[in-house]
């Protein structure tokens, strides 16, 4: 793929970064910087645009695209605002929130809140390979079989890492562009190393 080749040219990255920094400094931001969960909400919706779900993930051809939040809801109304009026491949977007995994069946994206840190293995095991994109925000999320995990850099920026093996297990096709922007892409072998 062309863009993969493009990415290999890192020699002049410094110049671009410098320019971008200068511009960011010169151009005042529009209002306050978005909060951590505003960014995470947008990312959740954006993931859907770079990932292809298997047909078995949906109950019917016109079933809505469901985003579920397990555990304490850190988004509040932010996630609702983000997906308001949006569609994905002609499907309406529905939001579900519960502390119980049983109530969140049929989700295409399942956000596992930090509150569920302790019972991650059980949760992820329970989800199985039913075509669900699991997104977490804890260190061990990928190790336990989660697909995408949010990380916060020391610059206080939200990035994410991807477990490619878990994605394959779920039958999800991840767009290469998504892999490009991920902070880390791990395969099962890599996981063992960590």
């Amino acid at each position: 793929m062309n863009h993969i080749q493009l990415m290999k040219h890192r020699r002049t990255r410094g110049v671009g970064l410098l320019l971008a920094g200068l511009l960011a400094w010169a151009l005042p931001g529009r209002g306050a910087s978005p909060t951590e969960y505003e960014v995470k909400a947008a990312f959740l919706f954006n993931f859907a645009q770079f990932i292809e779900w298997p047909a078995k993930a949906f109950a019917s051809t016109n079933a809505p695209f469901v985003i579920g939040v397990l555990g304490d809801d850190p988004f509040g109304h932010v996630l609702n605002q983000t997906v308001q009026g949006e569609t994905l491949n002609g499907r309406l977007i529905a939001l579900k929130h519960s502390n119980r995994l049983e109530e969140l069946t049929g989700c295409q994206i399942l956000f596992v809140s930090r509150s569920e840190k302790t019972r991650l293995p059980q949760v992820l095991a329970a989800i199985g390979n039913s075509g669900v994109l699991t997104v977490g925000e804890t260190d061990q999320f990928l190790r336990h079989g989660g697909v995408i995990n949010f990380v916060t850099t020391h610059e206080n920026k939200v990035r994410f890492e991807i477990n490619l093996s878990a994605a394959e297990r779920q039958g999800l096709k991840l767009n290469a562009k998504l892999l490009k922007v991920a902070q880390t892409v791990v395969a099962p072998a890599n996981l063992e190393d960590r």
């Binding site: 493009l6 040219h9 002049t12 110049v15 671009g16 971008a20 511009l23 960011a24 151009l27 562009k177």
Partner: protein, 514 residues
């Protein structure tokens, strides 16, 4: 364009072909370059749009997940596209997300997103393309390309087209050199023939016909014309030859006549020469005769004087001592001697005319006339003659001879008078170049048949008993007049007097003023 008229037909044809081809080639070349330029611009637009779209599509994830470093890394891949000067990604809010510049100096990143699409400026091509993710615009990409490639391509094309045009023109030149001959060769051949005909007047020349077009017709017509001229020329030559033959004939006849004339002239010259010799002989014998007369008369004087002297002595001493017969004889002898003396003196006088080596002087005829009146005073008185003169000129002559001339004529006029006393008049009038003198009298006159005889020496018309004289007077007059180149003649009717005419040359003004 006047110089164009002085070109040869070959040059004109060449120029025509080269100009036409050159113009066509240049126009075609310009059209080609123009079309290519336009096409290349379109291609550039398409390529930059495609590039922008590809870049935009590849940066959707970066834009979606705020991965600025990924976007910048992607943009930096534009290093492989050296014509891209600047590139910039804007997020969905129109803020600069990531930027790229080929070099710091060239960096010019528009602060605002502009939805005008592609735009050509004087030295750059810029494009703004929206970036779509699904049906949502997630950002905008901006690319700026310089036109070096376009300019270089244009220059290259111009050079190539120029070389092509030149090469084709060279080929055309070669072709034209060969092909113009089809038209120019017959014309040049015609011109050469026409020139040769006009220079050498050789109407037998013909032009080779090489084509069947209008030039061929022209050649045929020209040759036909030459044939006509040739036949006419031949006729003219024939007529000319005939004329010349006739002229030669006439010339021969004329030269024959001329030769005859020459011969006659020669004969005449011969005769003239003979005549001249005769005349010279005559003149010599005449001179000798005059010499003889002079010597004779001169030498006769001496014995005659002796005879005359002794006869006079005899007459004086023996007067009355001899008988009457003797006296009568002596008287006859004295008388004879006296007449002989007169005769000898007159003869000497006659032969002296023209012998005196005196210089001629300007002589007043009036003075001469007055002198004559004095000389003839007694005779005039005796005969009661009336001698007059009109206005008389001055002439160049020997005064003695002039006196002799006038006196002889006047004395003659008095001598041969009739019943009434003599009236003599001397006049002179000027005629061209000479003076015409007349001596008119009222004497007995002379019969016309004797008009010439009276001027001959010793010729007398009357016996001495009627009119004394020895027949020398008028002969002397004639000799004097002729010595001055004049003429003397007489007009007379017997019984009605006579008029003697003579001419003397007039003197010029120069002589008049000594």
């Amino acid at each position: 364009m006047n110089w164009l008229r002085h070109l040869t037909i070959r040059r004109k044809l060449m120029l025509l072909i080269l100009l036409s081809c050159g113009t066509a080639l240049c126009l075609a070349g310009a059209a080609f370059v123009g079309y290519d330029f336009w096409m290349f611009r379109r291609t550039m637009i398409r390529e930059i749009t495609v590039l922008a779209d590809v870049l935009g599509n590849n940066s959707t994830a970066a834009l979606s997940f705020n991965a600025r470093d990924t976007a910048e890394e992607m943009l930096s891949a534009l290093r492989t596209q050296p014509h891209i000067v600047t590139a910039c990604l804007y997020d969905k809010n129109g803020r600069v997300f990531a930027a790229y510049a080929r070099s710091h100096a060239a960096a010019h990143i528009p602060a605002q997103v502009d939805n005008r699409g592609c735009r050509f400026d004087s030295n750059q091509l810029t494009v703004f393309r929206p970036i779509w993710l699904g049906n949502k615009q997630v950002g905008t990409i901006y690319l700026e390309s310089d036109l070096t490639e376009l300019t270089q391509r244009l220059q290259l094309y111009l050079i190539m087209v120029s070389i092509k045009v030149l090469l084709v023109l060279l080929v055309v030149l070669g072709l034209a050199l060969k092909l113009q001959g089809f038209i120019s060769r017959p014309i040049l051949a015609l011109t050469a023939t026409a020139k040769a005909v006009s220079e050498h007047r050789n109407y037998a020349l013909r032009t080779q016909k090489t084509t069947t077009d209008e030039l061929g017709v022209l050649t045929d017509t020209f040759n036909e014309m030459l044939t006509q001229i040739q036949s006419r020329e031949a006729e003219l030559q024939r007529a000319h030859d005939e004329l010349e033959a006739r002229v030669a004939e006439r010339t021969a006849a004329l030269s024959k006549a001329n030769a005859a004339l020459q011969k006659e002239v020669g004969e005449r010259q011969c005769a003239e020469a003979g005549l001249r010799i005769k005349t010279e002989e005559l003149a010599r014998s005449n001179t000798e005769l005059e010499q003889f007369a002079y010597i004779a008369s001169h030498d006769l004087q001496e014995p005659l004087r002796m005879v005359s002297s002794y006869l006079q002595l005899l007459e004086q001493r023996y007067a009355g001592k001899l008988d009457a017969t003797a006296n009568e004889f002596i008287h006859y002898a004295v008388d004879g001697a006296a007449r002989m003396r007169t005769l000898v003196r007159d003869l000497l006088e006659y032969s002296r005319v023209g012998r005196r080596k005196q210089e001629l002087a300007v002589v007043n005829c009036r003075a001469v006339f007055d002198n004559i009146l004095l000389n003839l005073k007694e005779t005039i008185a005796d005969t009661q003659a009336k001698v007059t003169a009109g206005d008389l000129p001055t002439v160049r002559a020997d005064s003695t001879e002039l006196t002799q001339l006038f006196q002889n004529l006047i004395a003659n006029a008095i001598k041969f008078h009739g019943a009434q006393p003599p009236a003599v008049r001397l006049t002179a009038d000027r005629q061209d170049g000479h003076w015409h003198f007349t001596v008119r009298d009222n004497g007995i006159g002379i019969a016309p048949e004797f008009a010439d005889r009276i001027f001959v020496i010793f010729q007398r018309l009357h016996s001495r008993s009627h009119y004394p004289g020895n027949g020398l007077g008028l002969a002397i007059c004639k000799k004097i007049v002729e010595r001055y180149g004049g003429r003397i003649w007489v007009e007379s009717t017997p019984g009605q007097g006579a008029t003697f005419h003579f001419t003397l040359p007039a003197i010029s003004i120069k002589d008049h003023q000594p």
